[in-house]
């Protein structure tokens, strides 16, 4: 078992967020420790991406407290989160199509030499980083527009790894990936944990969650619906927490079919 520190790196206490008429998050609690992978699961529209964006400073929270290493912090803009050491890979990747891979990796934190962009050093480090992550792309100097969806995903993940983050948040990183690339991303998550990073992983894929996560936090309709230890919880229990019933997708279908037949 991985050693888990006492004070969580990140803790959310009673976080709420509303968009106009939509109460996207209500009193959400979440704790993530260093060296721990927390899977965040829930149905479509449960509020997972919204939760990620509040942590990342894209949407400031309306209510509640965010604690970073035990201290309450304000995260009002993406820079605040970056400064704390939070790196985020969004579901909608948010890369610049017209800029090349190196430029996207270093966007917003370019390496400079005497005030001028140090393209050579950025390119060298980009290649090195992509190599250590076993990421294969045609060239680091082609625009993002010419990469496949999976390749973009790996670039986005690589981008989050620059600058030694303490917490890495991955919003459905494997949704668009093939078998081999999914395995690579999961390996990557394992390596992050081994190095003592805290990881929040959002996924709809229970197999992925079972494979790498330590804890599973379930969101349902913008509220907490239980936190489970992956080792001791069955897949069915998690799924019933997601759907908010003791039954699961299979029994629901059976019930619906039965109704139709009447």
């Amino acid at each position: 078992m991985v050693h888990v520190s006492a004070t969580p790196v990140l803790a959310l206490r009673g976080v709420s967020k509303r968009f106009g008429a939509v109460q996207a998050l209500t009193d959400v609690e979440l704790e993530v420790h260093a060296g721990e992978v927390v899977a965040l699961v829930g149905d479509n529209g449960a509020g997972k991406s919204t939760l990620v964006k509040t942590i990342a400073g894209v949407h400031p929270i309306d209510d509640g407290v965010i604690e970073w290493e035990g201290k309450a912090v304000q995260i009002g803009k993406p820079n605040d989160a970056q400064t704390l050491g939070i790196a985020t890979v969004y579901q909608d990747l948010a890369l610049c199509d017209n800029i090349d891979v190196v430029g996207n990796l270093y966007l917003g934190r370019e390496l400079k030499k005497r005030g001028v962009l140090d393209e050579v050093e950025m390119e060298r480090r980009s290649r090195e980083l992509l190599t250590t992550l076993s990421i294969r792309i045609p060239s680091v100097r082609i625009p993002i527009a010419s990469l496949s969806g999976g390749q973009r995903q790996t670039v986005a993940i690589a981008r989050s790894m620059l600058g030694e983050p303490k917490l890495v948040i991955l919003d459905e990183p494997t949704a668009a990936l093939g078998v081999e690339q999914t395995a690579q991303v999961l390996d990557l998550v394992e390596r992050l944990r081994q190095r003592g990073h805290a990881v929040v992983l959002i996924s709809h894929n229970m197999a992925d969650v079972k494979a790498v996560a330590d804890k599973v936090a379930v969101l349902r309709l913008g509220r907490n619906n239980g936190v489970f230890d992956v080792k001791t919880t069955s897949q069915e229990e998690i799924i019933s927490a997601i759907t908010g019933a003791t039954d699961n997708a299979v029994t629901r279908r059976a019930a619906r079919n039965a109704e139709v037949q009447k």
């Binding site: 610049c96 050579v120 989050s160 620059l162």
Partner: protein, 434 residues
Amino acid sequence: MSTDKTSSTDLGKPATAPVDAPPAADAASAAVDPRLLVREQGFGGYLGELKRKVRAGELGALPVIVGLIIICIVFQSLNSNFLTAGNLSDISVAMVGTGMIAVGIVFVLLLGEIDLSVGSVSGVAGASFAVLSVLHGTPEWLALILAILTGAVAGTIHGFIFARIGVPAFAVTLAGLLFWNGFMLKILGDNGTINTNGSGVFYNLSNYFFSDIAVAYGAALVAVAVYFLSAFFDSRRREAAGVPSRPLSEIVLRTVLLAVVAFAVAFMFNQNKGLPLAVVIFLAVLILTDFVLRRTSYGRMIFALGGSVEASRRAGINIVMVRTSVYAISGTFAAVGGLFLASKISAANQGAGSGDLLMNAIAAAVIGGTSLFGGRGRTWNALLGVLVITSIQYGLALEGVAAAIQQMITGGVLLITVIIDAITRKTQKSAGRA
């Protein structure tokens, strides 16, 4: 090797990675997918790359250059005075005013936005200068600085309203177009036209020539030498870092091409009155702005914003600052352009900044190859585009063609350009490089 020293400082290196980074050259080959874009080394590889780019629709400046050659051939065959040193030199000086404005437009287009106020702002700058220096006796240099500041302030106001309050740039700058034109008429007052001095700094902007032939040739030599040395040392540095670099043959070829053009132009100017000051200033501005756009993080922010506003926001880019400053730059160059235009006619009059000036400036940026959709372009596009437009104007004027027809032809050329742009974009899409 010193290049390895920094590797562990800010890369998120997984624990399995060796403490010492692998030799950079290995890293270079491993990160590249073996299937694609493996360019042969040497000159053959360079030609192959060029062919592949053209086929994939990455034409770059090629259509404009072909267009310029066609324009030269057509007008020269119509009138043998077209390719004389005198006419070409006149074109070079005349294009600077509109060209400066087009440089500002390139910045705005890179954001994917538009600035309709540049014509009016250029008129305000010329009028401010004339009023200050002629009517109030302000020293010329001070009046010049104040006139340029007027443009910067106007642009900052437009940019701030657009960026902070969120009014569409189109609407803000349309209001600016009307307001600043009225403002210019107001400060010109009853005079209508103010004639400026027939000598002095302002007059020299469009009328000074370095008559010593050594200046033009010297400038060409310096440009070629600086280009070669910077390309050479950049390539050496890349080699040392183990990232792909330009082969020496390619650098030499590019340098030779540049040398041919630079010395031909210098020769042409020297056949006439010598190197025009206006052209020197314009080229200096192009070199400076190109550097800012492509070598500084500020320039990178502009491209990023033109590519994806959301990605820029999440990367922590200060969007309001970038947008506001880009409009300030646009206003500044509009003012500079207006001063050159007023210097050319040694007067500030009520017609300044109106007519087809705005459209020509935008057309120049677009004809030169700046994308209307943001995120793609260079300030050198302004030079190529304004060369096309001014050449057509002068060529048709030599033929005694009326201004009405000139406008129709310029419109046609712009249409052809955007059609080429749209078609190449499609080709690029199908080649996976949209």
